[in-house]
């Protein structure tokens, strides 16, 4: 029997339209917009000023604290200005705007395609290289990777889980990366294992990607440190806590971090970025983005420079279909609708999804019929209907008691609700308020 997590979970239509499309390079845009807050934690601090010439891979904003990450220029050219730019949050945020001139890389970066498999580095050297390169979790949460590799005192990582699940419908960027850069991902995995001083790693992949499973199994044959775990297709298996549960059977305690059960989870994209950062000295300046949708002319996977406007990618994928009703940065379940085509691709953008107007409409909300479907699909074992009601009535005490902070915002409850109730909308609001109250109480 294939492994999966319990409780909860759903299986939405997969729609992996671009799974057969090889990763392409859409060309370098004329201007890039690089926000200084692309990760969880403190925003980075710009170290360039207007008019400066920059090369690809040059540091343009340095980490603003321990939980923060360096940001490097993804293009060569001149800094046009440092100003506010619209980003996927729906608000204007500070960012660095660079006019592109040519494509000149920093000399220290190895831009060749050769595989560098051998390494003889200490754990500290690897973590240092990752920190310098500004690698963050590329699965979407964008948590700085070097922070994950340095567990708090008294805690010890025992296993590494590499996340190749890609449970979001439509998205195929991780899938393609596993097929095309399997060797590099395995080197990256070994680097991460060395950095964390663990000797066991699992790569979790859902069984809707048999080609990737087969390829990786073939590549690791003989080695017993890395194991490929085939998982049953189930959303949200790509969630950190769900993946740990599926692979190891252990449950992360409420409010705790994965390290509490001795696990660290990294995305396959992150493993690839770690390989590039350590072996090729290449900072995180590009990532794979899926551009897809039912009416998109050419659903594609692109290797995109960070800061490229979404409009460039849409044009590269065959232009904007006329019936587009919603543009989502990320997947259909957890992604965020964007309202502006100038929004840049950031480190956390895994896909751009163009939904038809008819697909994206919300249905009319009616009363809760107490069917408890939301309870049975919640992967965190919460009671979404209750959390929604208390959030709507602004009863933050009961919301906290109902463990609202454990919600991972996967949207399974809203997806499954037969009354089309906006469960997650209210729970997210409640989570924000309760988080605020808890922080005030602490200080």
């Amino acid at each position: 029997m294939l492994k999966t997590f319990k409780p909860g979970g759903i299986h939405p239509a997969e729609n992996k339209l671009s799974a057969k499309e090889a990763i392409k390079v859409p060309g370098i845009p004329k201007t890039v917009f690089i926000p200084v807050a692309q990760h969880i934690g403190a925003p980075s601090v710009p170290v360039v000023k207007r008019g400066d010439s920059v090369k690809v891979g040059q540091l343009i904003a340095k980490s603003g604290g321990f939980v923060s990450a360096n940001i490097h220029s993804s293009v060569s050219g001149k800094v046009k200005k440092i100003d506010t730019i619209p980003d996927s949050s729906g608000y204007r945020k500070q960012g660095i705007i660079i006019d592109v001139e040519g494509d000149e890389w920093e000399e220290s970066i190895d831009t060749s395609e050769n595989l560098v498999g051998q390494f003889n580095l200490t754990s500290e050297e690897i973590i240092n290289a990752i920190t310098q390169a500004g690698v963050v979790g590329l699965g979407g949460a964008t948590f700085p990777t070097h922070v994950k590799l340095m567990p708090p005192k008294g805690m010890k990582a025992e296993i590494l889980i590499v996340n190749g699940v890609e449970c979001e419908p439509y998205l195929t960027s991780d899938h393609r990366l596993m097929l095309e850069k399997a060797d590099e991902i395995l080197v990256g995995t070994r680097l991460l294992m060395k950095a964390m001083k663990v000797d066991k790693a699992y790569i979790g992949i859902e069984n809707n990607k048999p080609d990737a499973i087969q390829l990786l199994k073939q590549k690791i044959q003989g080695g017993n440190h890395i194991e490929i775990v085939t998982l049953k297709v189930r959303y949200p298996q790509g969630g950190e806590k769900q993946l740990i549960k599926a692979v190891t059977g252990k449950e992360v305690p409420s409010g705790g971090l994965p390290i509490a059960v001795g696990a660290v989870v990294s995305n396959v994209g992150t493993a690839f970025a770690v390989y590039e950062a350590v072996q090729k000295k290449k900072p995180l300046v590009e990532r794979v983005v899926t551009v897809t949708g039912k009416s998109v002319g050419k659903p594609s996977n692109f290797k995109v420079r960070i800061g490229t406007p979404v409009s460039v990618l849409i044009n590269a994928a065959g232009g904007m279909p006329e019936d587009t009703g919603k543009i989502i940065s990320g997947g259909p379940m957890m992604g965020k609708a964007i309202t502006n085509l100038d929004v840049p691709v950031t480190k956390g953008t895994s896909g751009i999804l163009l939904m038809k107007g008819s697909e994206s409409k919300r249905k009319k909300t009616i009363s809760c019929i107490r069917c408890s479907r939301c309870v049975s699909v919640c992967p965190m074992g919460l009671e979404p209907y209750l959390l929604q009601t208390v959030s709507e009535k602004q009863m933050w005490g009961p919301a906290e008691e109902g463990n609202i902070m454990d919600c991972i915002e996967c949207g399974s409850c809203s997806y499954t609700c037969p009354s089309n109730r906006p469960l997650l909308d209210y729970i997210r609001l409640g989570k924000g308020k309760v988080g605020q109250i808890m922080r005030t109480r602490k200080s």
Binding site: R92, K361, G432
Partner: protein
């Protein structure tokens, strides 16, 4: 038969008397002394329990008045100076007078001035909309118009104007409790000094973007040009983050800032039409929606 009745009555009255005696002594022993003035003060308060004073309700406010025995930082915005005078009389101390205030919505981004750039189909509350994104227009500081302030008002004093989609305050009903100020996720509502004849001058904008971006999103946005700041003789206007602010405690209603504002972001309410240059004044008045709307 009759003995049964007698026994019953006697037994019950004995138990009753005994219980009464016990209860009396217990009540004496555990008596909580409460200042009788708290009740007096509470009776003199409006009893709206709106929380505008910062306390949980009128009773909590009355307790605070009696406990602190001075009124320098206690004020009931609903009752106003009269009510606080009564409270002071009961407590035998001096009342601290405060200028009456009124809520003002600092946005005039109707469809006409602030074109819609997208459509929101989520839950129509301002709190959720603003947690998701900047809003249906290019201005991320402006009013969503879903009426969280209307829902928060206990006094029926704020309503969404169906024509502009922006809330408007009914001055007569507004008690300046501040419920709407707290409810607005965009911090658009401000409590300003109440002038006679409902007169008001204020910067009806909260956009902190640079002039060009602000103006592109909304034709009546404050662009932070600073003309009003230079014009003001009373130091009432300050510019911070590309946004002008008029301090209502310093403002003398001279209306000079209104005439120099290039975007009509500063609006005047409740004034008679200007005498000189009748034509231009009418023109500028026509450009300013809130002048017409709020005057009613």
């Amino acid at each position: 038969m009759s003995t049964t009745i007698i026994y019953t009555v006697v037994t019950l009255s004995t138990i009753g008397t005994l219980a009464a005696v016990i209860l009396y002594f217990v009540a004496q022993k555990f008596k909580v002394y409460e200042d009788p003035r708290i009740d007096d003060v509470e009776t003199s308060l409006p009893g709206a329990n709106c929380g505008g004073c910062g306390y949980a309700g009128c009773r909590a406010f009355a307790e605070a008045c009696v406990k602190q025995n001075e009124l320098s930082n206690l004020f009931c915005p609903v009752g106003g100076n009269d009510c606080m005078g009564d409270v002071a009389k009961i407590l035998g101390i001096e009342a601290v007078k405060q200028d009456p205030r009124v809520a003002v919505v600092r946005c005039q981004g109707s469809c006409e001035y602030r074109p819609r750039t997208n459509k929101f189909d989520g839950v129509t509350t301002c709190a959720i909309a603003s947690s998701v994104y900047g809003g249906e227009t290019g201005c991320q500081f402006g009013c969503h118009g879903y009426g969280d302030c209307v829902a928060a008002c206990d006094f029926d004093a704020i309503h969404i104007n169906p024509e502009t989609g922006i809330p408007e305050v009914v001055d007569e009903k507004c008690v300046a409790c501040g419920a709407c100020v707290k409810a607005c996720p965009k911090n658009l509502i401000e409590l300003r000094k109440k002038f006679p004849k409902k007169r008001k001058i204020y910067v009806s904008c909260r956009n902190e973007e640079k002039g060009g971006i602000a103006r592109k999103a909304c034709s009546v946005a404050c662009i932070g040009c600073g003309k009003c700041e230079k014009e003001c003789k009373f130091d009432a206007i300050t510019i911070a983050n590309n946004l002008a602010f008029i301090d209502s405690d310093k403002c003398r209603l001279c209306r000079k800032c209104v005439s120099v504002c290039p975007t009509n972001a500063i609006i005047e309410v409740g004034f008679p039409p200007r005498k000189i240059k009748q034509e231009t004044s009418e023109e500028s008045k026509a450009k300013t929606p809130a002048t017409a709307g709020n005057e009613k």
